[in-house]
Amino acid sequence: MSNGDEPSIDRRDLMRLLAGVAGANALGAATWGALEVLLPQGNADTWTKAVCRFCGTGCGIQVGMRAGRVTDVRGDELAHNAGVICVKGSMLRALPYVQGRLTTPMIRRGGKASPLTPATWEEAMSLVASKFQEAIAAAGPSSVAFYGSGQLFTEESYTANKLFKAGIRSNNVDGNPRLCMASAATGYTQTFGKDEPPGSYEDIDHADCLFVIGANPFHCHPPLHERIMRRKRLHPETTIICVDPRRTDTADHADIHLAPVPGTDLLLLNAMAQVICADGLVDVPFVTRHVRFTDGNASTDFAAFKAFLDANYTPEQVSQELGITAIDIRRVAHRFATSKATMSLWTMGLNQRTQGTALNAMVSGLHLLTGQFGRPGATPFSVTGQPNACGGVRDTGALSHALPNGRVVANAKHREEMEAIWGVPPGTIDPKPGLPAVELFEALGDGRVRAALVMCTNPAQSLPNSAVQSANMAKAGFLVVAEIFADSETAKLADVLLPAALWIEKEGVTGQGERRYQYTPRLLEPPGQCRSDLAILVDLAERLGHGKLISARTPETVWDEWRQVSAHSKYNFAGITYPRLKELRGLQWPCPTPDHPGTVRRFVEGSDPLVHPGTGIEFYGFPDSKAVIAARPYVRSPEMPSSEFPLQLTTGRVVEQWHTGTMTMRIPELRDGAGPARIEISPSDADRQHVAEGAPLRLTSRFGSVDGLAHITDRCRPGTLFAAFYDVKLLINRVVADHVDPVSKEPEYKVTAVRLELAQS
């Protein structure tokens, strides 16, 4: 500063001032820069979209990775699930690193009694091929079988189906979807002429009444439960009706819970239909235009259908056997019919039943009667169990009676179509349906089937009457199991064990419950010598002399072949290409061209490209474009309580565990969270039988016995027991009945008559 009265600033002062300002700014910028570098980036460096490995919801996920390892998994907010996954999906990060992976082929060098010992792929596959060839030479093509899974990729199930039916010429191709989804498939087919749900998950967002029957989404499809609750919280006037013999967590969140006696709920559906018809709740214009009636054999009319219901299914007539009051039946029927949009959601409670087909068809029938169809929120939606039961098995026809895209082997025209598409000589495909799951393993025991390949499933634990079926597998001529662990109940019985790649150790496409195909990328190297199931099938095809037939050998080439096959059907998803799948969060078929956005509501004009303009709704599965409502008489389950077996057992999943627990019991959070499986019993039954909490029990049915510990809970209605099937220490399927639905051949897991005794501790 100068020495004058008035201050002034010289150049030096100005430079100092500017330097100070610059220094302060530099300090701020340096701090910012340091923060950009130093602030943590979260748990992962890269995020890649993929699909959850577990249930049929088929959630889109983001896989977070750092240094080549999966470090985090979160929901993909752009996928159909809007970022919501569940505790199993959240723990997928641990799945690739669980202990005990099978990493090398294993064979028994000294016959059945000898231990499984490591072998090379060449040794193992040579042995498999020679045993298959031996069986085919000695007893024909139908002496070999494939038993697959709703957890294989579509490319794998398609290839297996083609190899066995058009190459080996054996229709003995079945899989675990027979155990969970077969009744849904036959129910839809009998009603609409085509399998697969007509609606979408997004219908939940529009429904004013959600009719949840025989399903427990809180535990089994948590993101769907969350979506239902999102709807409820956003629109509290939405009515949630839950029909379940148990007061499940889903029932706790419902407005109305009806607890029928296990095995009787066709009475409920028929009585609801009776109320709808008697109280003038039928949507007459919809029914007149879009529906025809049958009595199961011949065409009838609405009057005949109503007379059938009036004769035996008034609420008062069914109330006692059903265990639900007539008032509640009427209340639910009216709510179902009069809501602005009703969506039904069901799964194994209706599917795993000796009347599974009838139950499935009747739920759809209620929607047709009331016109609750085709509008947003109005649809009958069968929730699927596994991540690729719909796309991989139902669509590809990888079941013993089926051919791709809704065709069946018993139909000569269908066989001819597939023979032409696959380029095999006419007459190649055996006209006789193969063996469905339960029969297939019985045949393995009695020698009708001499060699079988089991992939990606654990039937020794999951089949009903599993002690007998395990014995059949132990007796089998030759059992090959492709597995990720050597200690699954089925792997222990194998003659050859093949190490399989898991989840993101291979790439492929899965089709979840709303006809949506989604792509899973390969992000990890498989451990050891593990191979994808597709690679195993291609190798087997080559060794059995069908290399020319199985010319597509990479996931993308198989997919390209498969989508072109679909173009010859009403499934048509030729427009769902690999590049689109890699870019988009899946696409719903029909999707005939690469620019088609996919079909949210099937059979509905404006959404479904196969519907003719001007029709509004067109059920093109049948020649007359009408859906079918059939009179379905209630048939009492063979497993109703008796003096010898006074209780009824139902089985199911728990939220932390997936199927037989081979994967999820190796993840500490999920293992500890689920704890050991227990036999759940109502307080009144426990009191009557002097059962204390944790008491050792012996459960006995007509099929076998199993010991387990008691858990007393008022979630069970009196007379009903429950046990989950994930725990090898409680192999509950040893007592579960293996009666099957006569149409779908799906076993009745949900109803087994049992008796209970205190076991020796």
């Binding site: 201050p7 602030l39 943590p40 919501v84 969350e226 919280r233 956003l234």
Partner: protein, 233 residues
């Protein structure tokens, strides 16, 4: 006048006083002040030197400190108000969606159902306030730097994990939370934010796709939100 406006007025006044006082002081030649007569303040009479030294102290130390205090108070406490968050236009999609009764996002459902009566943004993002940790402050500084230098890109993406404590502080210990035994299965992971609550309960705000310029919802989402007096109570 709302309290937030009062804070702003006080902050502005102290800032102006600092500038004016600083200018006057800079024009003084303190070496010549001793010759000047005393300055009468009514209650006391000071020598010119003492007066200007006290003024200098006020302008160089007291008023800047007061300005900083008011500004920080405004920053930390002002962000309790949703309106304060919406001042940055990149936050408007969050605020507009929060107020949308048809939005199914977690924040909007909390708002619609009145789970959080006031200060909705801050209720779940309180680590930007006085109570947050240093990491949140550093992240906040980074956001400020990005925003003021316009070096951000829409749609914004969270860089770090959301701190689950923001959820747990209300939900943990309550029956709806405790009755879901899955929460117990992974409680350690939840408490350490190793697993996001959003995994099972969905996104909190509009999707990145909706927040991308040019999307169908974008223009509606970036409209200036309107607030009523009730929003400030």
């Amino acid at each position: 006048m709302s309290w937030i406006t009062l804070v702003r007025v006080i902050g502005t006044l102290t800032c102006l006083l600092t500038i004016v006082g600083g200018w006057l002081i800079a024009r003084r030649n303190f070496a010549r002040l001793s010759d000047r007569p005393a300055v009468s303040l009514g209650i006391a009479t000071l020598s010119a030197t003492a007066f200007w030294k006290l003024s200098a102290f006020a302008c160089i130390a007291v008023l800047p400190a007061a300005t900083m205090a008011v500004a920080n108070y405004h920053t930390f406490v002002g962000v309790h108000e949703v309106e304060a968050c919406s001042q940055c236009h990149v936050m408007r999609p969050m605020v507009n969606d929060l107020h949308d009764p048809n939005s199914d996002a977690l924040a909007a459902r909390h708002f619609k159902n009145g789970y959080i009566p006031t200060g909705q943004c801050y209720a779940c993002h309180s680590d930007y306030g006085f109570s947050g940790d240093m990491a949140a402050k550093m992240e906040g500084f980074r956001h400020l730097a990005r925003y003021t230098t316009r070096t951000y890109k829409e749609p914004l993406a969270a860089r770090t994990r959301f701190d689950n404590h923001q959820c747990l502080k209300c939900h943990q210990g309550k029956t709806p939370f405790e009755s879901v035994h899955v929460h117990g299965d992974v409680l350690t992971r939840l408490q350490s934010s190793n697993m996001s609550c959003l995994n099972c309960h969905g996104r909190a705000h509009p999707t990145r796709a909706d927040r991308t310029p040019g999307s169908a919802r974008y223009s509606a989402l970036v409209q200036a939100p309107s607030f009523t007096e009730a929003d400030h109570e």
